[in-house]
């Protein structure tokens, strides 16, 4: 009796769970479908019915409009890629390094330093933006990718995440034996610690890459030279036409913007599927 009951409830659970997940799947994929479909439709079609699942035949026309507006996706890709890869690398590498300093070594200022990191995490972005922006103009770092890359070195949220991951998963014994073998601390970090941190780094890399790729506010203010525009800036140019918005090509542009992140995401997604073990509880 009890067994039958359990089976029935398992069935009920499965139906509910799968229905719910399916619903969320539709909700999550919906914008991608709309983007792809709309990039094949004409502006008129989109204006009268913004949402449709039937592709149109305007892909080529939209592409031409896109090209005609000085939209150079390859240059855009390149610029966005330099910024995103640079800042993601800085973010992940230096955050792991900072987390390593926090976990592996005992030093006097460790505790206060961690507190500072947590406090930095809470500073609203808008607070620093005014000062940051004035500062960059003063040192003439406009039209330069560095102010969009280097701040990623100090990414408190990533440090926090890395620290959480490192505490249970980095056995100090390995460090000790490496030291006995005569390895320097820097080599230990690069050759032993980094490979062990790969899953956590991949997860954070996804988060960081996506954020960097999509940012518009700072590039818009700091990069004014059109030859250095990033992908999102180019799309905003399409969207900002004073008289008429070419929706078809805007969607095509948006879709082109999202393709590289999708690729990067799918490459790293195995770490999302497998999951990253994270927690302060040791076995």
């Amino acid at each position: 009796m009890a067994v039958v009951n359990k089976k029935a409830s398992t069935y009920a659970f499965k139906i509910i769970a799968y229905t719910f997940c399916l619903l969320l799947t539709i909700l999550s994929l919906f914008p991608f479908v709309i983007m792809i479909v709309n990039s094949t439709r004409s502006t008129g079609e989109i204006q009268s019915h913004a949402i449709s699942f039937i592709p149109g035949s305007n892909l080529k026309a939209n592409w031409n409009v896109l090209m005609g507006r000085g939209f150079d996706p390859f240059a855009g890709f390149r610029h966005s890629l330099i910024i995103s890869v640079g800042s993601t690398a800085c973010n992940v590498y230096f955050s792991t390094m900072t987390a390593f300093a926090l976990v592996a070594y005992d030093w006097k200022l460790r505790k206060p330093f961690f507190t500072v990191i947590m406090a930095v995490l809470m500073i609203p972005a808008q607070v620093t933006s005014i000062g940051f922006y004035q500062f960059m103009y003063k040192i003439h770092w406009t039209n330069n990718y560095l102010p969009l890359i280097l701040p990623a070195i100090a990414a408190p949220a990533t440090v926090f995440f890395m620290r959480q991951y490192m505490i249970p998963s980095l056995p100090m014994e390995i460090l000790q034996s490496a030291r006995i073998d005569g390895a320097g601390e820097f080599r230990i970090f690069n050759q032993i610690v980094l490979p062990m941190m790969k899953p956590a780094m991949a997860t954070q890399a996804i988060f960081s890459f996506v954020m960097s790729w999509n940012q518009l506010f700072m590039p818009q203010i700091l990069i004014t030279d059109m030859e250095k525009y990033t992908m999102p800036q180019m799309v905003s140019l399409l969207n900002g036409d004073a008289y008429r918005t070419e929706y078809g090509s805007v969607y095509l542009g948006l879709f082109l913007t999202v393709v590289p992140i999708l690729i990067a995401y799918f490459i790293l997604s195995k770490y999302i599927i497998e999951g990253v073990a994270l927690g302060g509880v040791k076995g």
Binding site: L29, A101, D106, K108, F113, V127, G131, P232, I272, A277
Partner: protein
């Protein structure tokens, strides 16, 4: 956590490895923050403001006017309201999915696929999301309105963008929709970090799925939950992109969040840098207080561990001070 080998102190590497972070932090965060913070005490406003300003005779004048400002108060209320509306469904659903995807007794097939897909809304630029949702809820003809009218739920189109509650709900929904996948991934990471031994023990004791989740998963997830709560709180109270791009704080200031308010003060119009700076600092204090409360509420176990660490660190410090041949001078 021994870091000493044969009497050599490795603590200097702790400092060494933190240098990049500290340097970048000093240049790109601390300096701009202090700069901004001081602006709140000055008469810095207008296009010429940043080149030519002086400190006020009454240093807290601007802070006072910001705190008394009707729009600022409203924006604070909106921000908290929208965050609460988005956060609770978000954490609930993220936890639910986490429980399902990490369940030992009820294996869900294709969970890898679901995990990958659920994160996908987070990939799209806020600008795209705003355009999409604007199109969805457009008036008088839009997909949602078409649906409402054609199914007979409403006689005529509904003007979503003029209704305050509707606008807030839509913004909260967008926030929920973009971030639940992210939260879920972090939470799953936390659950995977819990030792399987504990689950085995629970299974032997005959605990069912629900019991295991509440008795084992949640308590052991504390640090990760804390991380989620803090990052979500900070992100939520700084909510800018969607409210700004979707309806630019409207209708009738219903989706005016504090960040949009700060942005408007600083960049859209009169360049009231000092007011924006003061509002920013007020926000920081609020966020820091909320986080402190969270830390306090979720302290217990961590606190004990921290105390232990502190004691050890003190001992260590003493030892280093005594023998410090290889000390790193800070």
């Amino acid at each position: 956590m021994k870091t000493k080998l044969k009497g050599i102190s490795y603590s200097k590497y702790g400092y060494l490895f933190s240098i990049p972070f500290v340097v970048a932090f000093l240049i790109f965060t601390l300096y701009p923050t202090i700069y901004t913070a001081t602006l709140g005490f000055t008469d810095c406003r207008g296009v010429m403001g940043p080149d030519n300003y002086k400190f006020l005779d009454h240093p807290f004048e601007i802070f006072k006017s910001v705190l008394e400002n009707d729009s600022f108060r409203l924006s604070l209320k909106n921000t908290i309201g929208i965050w609460v509306m988005n956060f609770f469904p978000q954490i609930t659903i993220a936890l639910l999915l986490t429980a399902w995807f990490t369940s030992h007794s009820n294996e869900i097939r294709c969970k890898g696929f679901f995990k990958v897909v659920f994160y996908m809304p987070n990939i799209i630029t806020a600008a795209t999301v705003a355009i999409l949702f604007k199109a969805l809820f457009s008036y008088p003809t839009g997909p949602v309105n078409d649906l409402l009218v054609s199914t007979g739920l409403r006689d005529s189109s509904y003007y979503f963008a003029t209704n305050k509650t509707a606008a807030r709900l839509i913004v909260a929904f967008i926030q929920f929709w973009t971030w639940y996948g992210n939260t879920m991934i972090v939470l799953i990471s936390g659950v995977l970090g819990i030792s399987p031994d504990i689950y085995e023990a629970a299974e032997i004791d005959g605990a069912n799925g629900v019991q295991t989740f509440f008795r084992i998963t949640i308590p052991n997830l504390k640090t990760v939950l804390l991380y989620t709560l803090i990052t979500s709180l900070v992100g939520g109270l700084n909510m800018f992109d969607i409210p700004f791009l979707f309806l630019n704080g409207g209708p009738d200031r219903a989706t005016l969040t504090t960040s949009v308010y700060i942005y408007n003060q600083a960049f859209a119009g009169s360049y009231l840098y000092n007011k924006a700076a003061a509002a920013s600092m007020v926000m920081w204090v609020i966020i820091a207080l909320c986080s402190a409360v969270l830390f306090f509420v979720m302290r217990d176990k961590d606190q004990i561990k921290l105390d232990k660490e502190l004691k050890k660190a003190k001992k260590e410090a003493k030892r280093v001070a005594k023998g410090g041949a290889d000390q790193w001078q800070w």
